[in-house]
């Protein structure tokens, strides 16, 4: 594959988004067009990512020097297996999330699909670029539509959460920009290929890049910079939260891994910092989840905890650890989205995600319950599901690196994860609904804000199977990736090898 095509996953969605916005000006009702164009664009990026995976499988790195400038001057797009697999999983999520949002009616805002396409373009650019300032720009391209999507649907509570979300994001972006400026001042370039190893050899560049990593840690919600995530993701639209969970924080995680691998050359000097942060994130996230009593807050705290897992593999910085990280990241993004989609369906149909007001859904909604159970057990890491393969990889990599505390915590936090998944399962699906006193027989709308048990008052139809298709698909992917892990293991091994020794990527980017 020639590198010139690398611009497609960025330009394609952006172009379609602009065209859609134009059509919106001309025609009044474009919902049907939106619902076709959005998935087509995401599917196109997914197909492209598939070709990219095939092209990078042998370790070759397609490169595009934008504008045909010489290497070192041009802005560079480069793709290795890690970029390609991230591109594939993010576009797959967008592809699945768009029909899901449509089924829940969250795409009523005419700007919804164009904004999601801009978001997709930003994510694609962020995982493909090999230029630090360009990374900042693409992260902004990704964040600006996310601000607008966040408030879609309105409501005082959502607006209050949006103020927090935008403030934190802007703070992190400001720090990120300052870090990029410091890197330029210290090294005289922002080309990641030229910066290779500079963080290790030059203290000034190392410090400047640390400012960038700090800002990216806020974006990836690492403890102690995680406080905003459960506060905000639990209060945006349910389908939007499912979309965000797979895209936004993961780009932060991707960038941290890429920068540490390239700019610091994976130097063992600072690995203890990453390990400490990773273990703290795992533990604090899962303990935070124990204290919550509604579906989405519990799940968003688990997001924090799982990001800790991802960083454990980075902190080992062995080929085995990094490939386990990539495997974990891919399967976790799919599973977490499935879980948040289940929560979204429950909230949408029964009007609440609070455990006290739900119960007994296993009998009413067997398909939903089954999907949730599979995804929850995957998150906890029960064999034979994909979460088990991922955690086994992490634990064995940590054990062979002699990090026994990490092994113990990987296993221990899994137990706590299982505990809190069982809590959700019991509260929402298994236990009989809480005392159905006043709510019984009331044929009110599904969304009632009174204190009555939500299930009892939600008479009538169940969730349509069509709504459940996206989470069922993602949960099935978790089963398949567990039973037949070979293809993804091959990919993640290649990606891990490329991260452990980034010289091939660096050579391609610098053109030397």
């Amino acid at each position: 594959m020639t590198g010139g095509l690398l611009v497609l996953p960025v330009a394609g969605p952006l172009l379609l988004s602009g065209l859609l916005a134009l059509v919106h000006q001309l025609r009044s009702d474009t919902t049907r067009l939106d619902r076709v164009v959005g998935p087509v664009a995401a599917g196109g990026v997914l197909v492209f990512a598939g070709f990219l995976l095939a092209a990078t499988a042998d370790g070759s790195v397609p490169v595009l020097q934008l504008g045909g400038w010489q290497p070192g001057i041009a802005i560079v797009f480069a793709a290795d297996t890690f970029s390609a697999v991230m591109l594939a999983v993010t576009s797959l999520l967008v592809l699945v999330s768009l029909p899901f949002a449509a089924a829940l009616g969250e795409d009523e805002d005419p700007a919804f699909v164009p904004l999601v396409l801009v978001l997709l373009a930003g994510v694609s650019g962020a995982v493909l670029t090999a230029d630090l300032f360009n990374l900042f720009v693409f992260i902004e391209v990704m964040l600006v539509p996310s601000y607008l999507l966040f408030t879609a649907g309105g409501g005082a509570e959502r607006l209050a959460a949006a103020r927090l979300y935008v403030s934190i994001s802007l703070m992190a972006s400001t720090v990120l920009l300052a870090g990029v400026g410091l890197v330029y001042g210290a090294a005289g370039t922002v080309n990641l290929g030229e910066l290779a190893g500079a963080g290790e050899s030059s203290p000034a560049v190392g410090f400047a890049a640390a400012v960038v990593l700090l800002a990216l840690s806020v974006k990836s919600a690492v403890v102690p910079l995680h406080g905003w995530l459960p506060q905000t993701y639990a209060r945006t639209g349910p389908a939007v939260a499912a979309l965000f969970s797979g895209l936004l924080t993961k780009v932060g995680v991707y960038a941290v891994i890429r920068l540490y691998s390239v700019v610091y050359g994976g130097t063992p000097r600072y690995l203890w910092v990453i390990m400490a942060v990773a273990l703290l994130t795992m533990v604090v996230g899962v303990l935070g989840a124990v204290g919550e009593h509604a579906m989405r807050p519990v799940l968003t705290f688990h997001m924090v905890s799982q990001i800790g897992y991802v960083f454990v593999g980075l902190a080992l910085f062995t080929a085995a650890g990094l490939s386990a990280t990539v495997f974990f990241l891919v399967q976790y993004v799919l599973v977490k989205t499935a879980l948040l989609m289940c929560a979204a369906v429950v909230e949408h149909r029964y009007g609440t995600g609070e455990l006290d007001r739900l119960g007994g859904l296993a009998r009413r909604e067997p398909l939903l319950a089954g999907t949730f159970a599979v995804a929850a057990l995957t998150l906890a890491g029960i064999p034979p599901l994909s979460g088990f393969v991922a955690k086994l990889g992490l634990a064995s990599a940590a054990a062979s690196a002699g990090q026994h505390l990490a092994v113990a915590l990987v296993v221990g936090v899994s137990l706590l994860t299982l505990l809190s998944m069982v809590k959700l399962w019991n509260g929402v699906f298994w236990e009989p609904p809480a005392e159905d006193g006043e709510g019984e027989g009331a044929e009110g709308p599904a969304v009632d804000d009174g204190g009555a048990p939500a299930v009892a008052s939600a008479l009538g139809s169940r969730v349509r199977p069509l709504v459940l298709a996206p989470p069922v698909f993602l949960a099935a992917a978790a089963v398949v990736l567990g039973l037949w892990a070979e293809p993804l293991l091959t990919i993640s091994t290649a990606a891990g090898a490329g991260l452990a020794d980034p010289s091939g990527w660096v050579a391609a980017v610098t053109g030397r």
Binding site: E157, V166, S167, M171, T174, A178
Partner: protein, 146 residues
């Protein structure tokens, strides 16, 4: 040196405003921080050379580094857009947000939070809001005076 002082002053002012209550002050704080980062970016290209970076017009040893200037241009546009959006957020919904009411948490829904309010008593509650608002404003004024 002067650039470092300017950056330091702007960051100090920005952080001070960020720590104040009220979204309007926070937005102004971000504006100051954005300026600080822009000065930092320009100074990252070297403060000695100030010539216009035009090929054939300026000698290479006096021409300024154009790359940080391009960075700043991009960053200014992005910050401007987000600032306007934040001002819109401050204006939309809860009018208390601009005057120093902390972001509401759902599980501690206060009466002024407005999340579970019926249409019928909206007017009532709005007047309540306004009174509460005035109260807050005097609070803030006193806080500033002391």
């Amino acid at each position: 040196m002067s650039a470092a002082l300017v950056v330091g002053l702007l960051v100090a002012g920005g952080v001070f405003l960020l720590l104040r209550r009220g979204l309007l002050r926070i937005v102004l704080g971000f504006v100051l921080l954005g300026h600080a980062v822009n000065v930092l970016l320009v100074s990252a290209g070297g403060m000695q050379r100030r010539g216009a970076p035009l090929l054939g017009e300026t000698e290479a040893d006096v021409a300024a580094d154009p790359l940080p200037q391009a960075f700043v241009l991009t960053a200014v546009v992005i910050t401007f857009g987000i600032t306007v959006y934040m001002l819109a957020l401050a204006r939309a919904g809860d009018p208390g947000a601009t005057t120093g009411h902390p972001p509401a948490r759902s599980d501690a829904s206060s009466p002024a939070d407005g999340s579970d309010r019926d249409d019928a008593d909206r007017e009532d509650a709005d007047t309540e809001d306004a009174t509460a608002d005035r109260g807050r404003r005097t609070d803030a004024a006193e806080g500033g005076a002391s």
